[in-house]
């Protein structure tokens, strides 16, 4: 089954430009090609000078690359965003309720909506969190939900990133770059601003401070300058005006977390951590971790410090739990899901495995615990050999994989070597949950630069675009 028809964000099937792209398309046609070429080169050199780069794993240490930036924005009309936003808020609310439930009474398991062993035997389930109360019952304070469009008004959630979702700095820098390069475009369009995201994030983190702390000290915890997302960690700390700390800068004394400063120890109340659970506390998790803080979990369980996102959120964004999210929305909120889930075959089930093996050329197969676009098979885009290799993997370890139909991801005109051509994209909006749920309009648009590719991850050569939500 070959997919031939894709939804184009800019032009309708009859070739006419969609209404919300009319202004941009007119600008593009009246702007001389050499001016655009000059601006694109300027964007590259600015990103280099700003050092807006990411480190690539598996290459020479310290290798930094630019994420390609495309100057054709992804534009979303107001009404479409409104629906999308409602769907995202609903989803993240349900996910937070789910995590709270799992680490307390496990009602949803008792009610039989999700097989208990799927949750309790999951590597991402943290028994250390059982019975621990967290401020406002919020576990995933920062969620980055990957959404793709298949057709008009037809959005699918691909993944709920509830651990340490990244990319928001590119959303902000892409906007800054577009405004610097093409101010005239912003005079012509009513583009909803996103620049207040860091304020919103700080507000969210402060609202989650331990009970009794009135003026909390917030820090961002980074694995360090060699982490692939270090730019973002430094950027967010700076934009929020808080300290960027590494594990070695913190210590725990009598269940209280302190940072080492030039004026002696200073108490820390809220940690926006960008370090994975496994590395957070060598006393309880990976013993060899140099990135964490011994005793952090003690302070956390004692309610003396807030760690955001909470420990153990991975149990809710695991690919094996994903199929149950619509069920969570019905169970906790009593609502019908607004956004679609992609039908998912869980290869641990014999009937799903059989189906998957019979339909490999048309499916996308992913590792349950994979991320970053590594270890996946896109059936329609793969050779016979690749498919056969994956077939062997599946037969050997079926429980490690899920399979989904290949979605007809929408595409958007994008600058490539040969000129402007359609490329597939996704969207990662960010949902902030504290005492209230907040979002900035838009998110990070990632675009697969290789022709026909459906993999948008930056580690796989994906690029980004500015995302415009037009105000009504």
């Amino acid at each position: 089954m070959a997919i031939t028809k894709f939804f184009n964000e800019m032009t309708a099937d009859d070739g006419s430009v969609r209404a919300h792209y009319a202004g941009y398309a007119a600008w593009l046609s009246e702007t001389p090609a050499d001016r655009i070429a000059r601006k694109r080169a300027e964007a590259d050199s600015l990103f280099h000078r700003y050092g807006i780069t990411f480190a690539v794993y598996g290459e020479e240490s310290g290798t930094e690359r630019l994420i390609p930036f495309d100057i054709i924005p992804r534009i979303i009309p107001a009404q479409e965003w409104k629906d999308l936003e409602a769907g995202l808020r609903q989803r993240v609310k349900a996910l937070n309720s789910f995590i709270h439930d799992i680490y307390h009474d496990q009602e949803i398991l008792k009610a039989g909506h999700i097989p208990a062993e799927q949750v309790l035997n999951n590597a991402q389930y943290r028994p250390e969190m059982q019975g621990v109360n967290v401020p406002c019952d919020i576990y995933a304070a920062i969620a980055g939900v990957d959404v793709v469009r298949a057709g008009a008004g037809e959005f699918y959630v691909l993944e709920d990133n509830l651990r340490v979702p990244s990319g928001v700095s590119y959303m902000l820098e892409d906007r800054r770059m577009m405004m610097r390069l093409f101010p005239e475009l912003f005079a012509r369009h009513r583009v909803a601003p996103v620049e207040h995201y860091p304020d919103m994030l700080l507000h969210t983190l402060r609202s989650l401070a331990p009970v009794g702390v009135t003026d909390p000290t917030v820090v961002v915890l980074t694995p360090g300058a060699y982490n692939s997302a270090y730019f973002e960690h430094a950027f967010l700390a700076q934009q929020m005006g808080v300290e960027l700390v590494e594990g070695q800068d913190l210590f725990v004394s009598e269940d209280q977390v302190f940072m080492r400063t030039t004026q002696g120890p200073r108490r820390v109340d809220v940690i926006y951590r960008r370090v994975d659970d496994d590395f957070l506390d060598p006393k309880y998790f990976r013993k060899d971790s140099m990135l964490g803080v011994p005793g952090l979990l003690d302070a956390y369980r004692a309610g003396r410090v807030t760690v955001s996102n909470a420990i153990g959120t991975g149990v809710a964004d695991d690919k094996s739990i994903y199929p149950y999210v619509p069920e969570m929305i019905r169970f906790y909120l009593g609502e019908e899901p607004i956004l679609n889930n992609v039908p998912t075959y869980m290869c641990r089930k014999p009937e799903d495995l059989a189906y998957t093996l019979a339909h490999l050329p048309e499916l996308v197969v992913k590792e349950v615990h994979g991320a970053g676009g590594y270890g996946m098979l896109v059936g329609p885009a793969s050779t016979k050999e690749q498919i056969e290799t994956f077939r062997q993997y599946l037969i050997a370890n079926p429980e490690k994989y899920i399979a989904q139909p290949t979605l007809a991801l929408s595409n958007c005109p994008t600058f490539v070597e040969s000129g402007i051509a359609p490329r597939h994209l996704d969207l990662r909006p960010f949902v902030l949950s504290g005492t209230e749920v907040q979002m900035v309009p838009g998110g990070l648009t990632r675009v697969a630069l290789r022709e026909g590719s459906l993999v948008v991850n930056s580690s796989q050569g994906g690029g980004t675009k500015d995302t415009w939500v037009l105000e009504a």
């Binding site: 050092g51 300058a225 400063t261």
Partner: protein
């Protein structure tokens, strides 16, 4: 401020200052090497300069003999030489990268851009334009970095640690540059006699620390060793002098003062007042070279103490 942040800021500033002064010291030695003299003297000059930089052994491990080209390559481009300008600029950028959130974006971008340009320099490009143009470029990047620092950074603790790094490094480096003057003195030669004869050497040295015009303005008279030394050691109005550097070290130190830094502040203050109330004749009586070496030892000690008190606290 985080101790680790202060550490990165301090070293970011030190490495930038070191890159600049390495360019200055190479510049003056290079100019001196062009004065009429025989090949042996030129070799002795480069070997002496490397000795002052404490890089002689590292050089000899790589190169069999001293030549202008080899020393320049070693001191500018060598990736294994921790004292090369390449390494200094890389370390500046790495330290800045580690605390980029604490820096203004202009300051970070300046440091990043300097590094990106340095990475693109080659020996071929250097020979084409002459080493002088390259040294000039390094100096201007350092000027720019300092200007952006003062022009954009909030006057808080972060700035104090940057300034502390700049001036502690400069105190050390100016002392080393002064030592270069004595390079081509043969062992046992009379310092006094040498002083009398070498107008060109003293003027090259003055130029290397941007002090030639300053000298003329201050003394309105011919160049004499005693006055050059006075200008670069004792005159607190001379921006690159030991006295000025120590004044800045002491005042910045006082402003970041903490519960454990009293002795460090006292030692810095003591060194500053020696310079403030000292007389150049007395310094020469005891031997100028020895004075400079002692001075550098005390700067080294101060650096260790600052590290213990603020940057890498040994206990929490």
């Amino acid at each position: 401020m985080l101790s680790r942040t202060a550490d990165h800021l301090f070293w970011m500033a030190r490495y930038m200052e070191r890159a600049e002064n390495t360019a200055r010291i190479l510049d003056v030695t290079y100019r001196l090497s062009l004065l009429p003299q025989n090949g042996e003297e030129v070799e002795a000059m480069w070997s002496g300069m490397l000795k002052i930089m404490e890089l002689q052994d590292a050089y000899l491990a790589k190169y069999p003999a001293y030549s202008t080209e080899a020393v320049l390559e070693f001191m500018i481009f060598d990736r294994d030489n921790p004292g090369s300008i390449y390494r200094c600029l890389r370390a500046t950028r790495e330290n800045a990268h580690a605390v980029r959130g604490t820096l203004t974006s202009e300051l970070w971008e300046t440091s990043n851009e300097t590094w990106l340009k340095m990475r693109d320099f080659t020996v071929a490009k250097l020979l084409e334009s002459g080493p002088g143009a390259f040294f000039e470029w390094v100096k201007y990047r350092s000027h720019l970095s300092r200007g952006v620092t003062i022009g954009t950074m909030l006057q808080d603790e972060a700035l104090r640690f940057i300034r502390l790094g700049t001036f502690l490094e400069r105190a050390d480096n100016t002392a080393r540059i002064l030592e270069v003057k004595y390079l081509n003195l043969l062992p046992g030669a009379d310092e006094e006699q040498a002083h009398a004869t070498d107008y060109y050497q003293w003027s090259a040295l003055l130029q290397s620390v941007s002090a030639f015009e300053v000298y003329r303005k201050v003394y309105r008279d011919q160049i004499t060793p005693l006055r050059v030394a006075e200008l670069l050691v004792l005159r607190a109005d001379m921006p690159r002098s030991l006295a000025r550097s120590m004044k800045e070290v002491h005042s910045n130190l006082t402003r970041v003062s903490n519960a454990r830094s009293a002795e460090t502040e006292r030692l810095a203050g003591e060194l500053e007042s020696h310079l403030r109330f000292g007389r150049i004749e007395r310094i020469f009586e005891g031997g100028f070279r020895k004075y400079l070496e002692d001075f550098r030892d005390r700067i080294f000690d101060l650096g260790c103490r600052i590290s213990d008190d603020f940057l890498i606290p040994t206990s929490s």
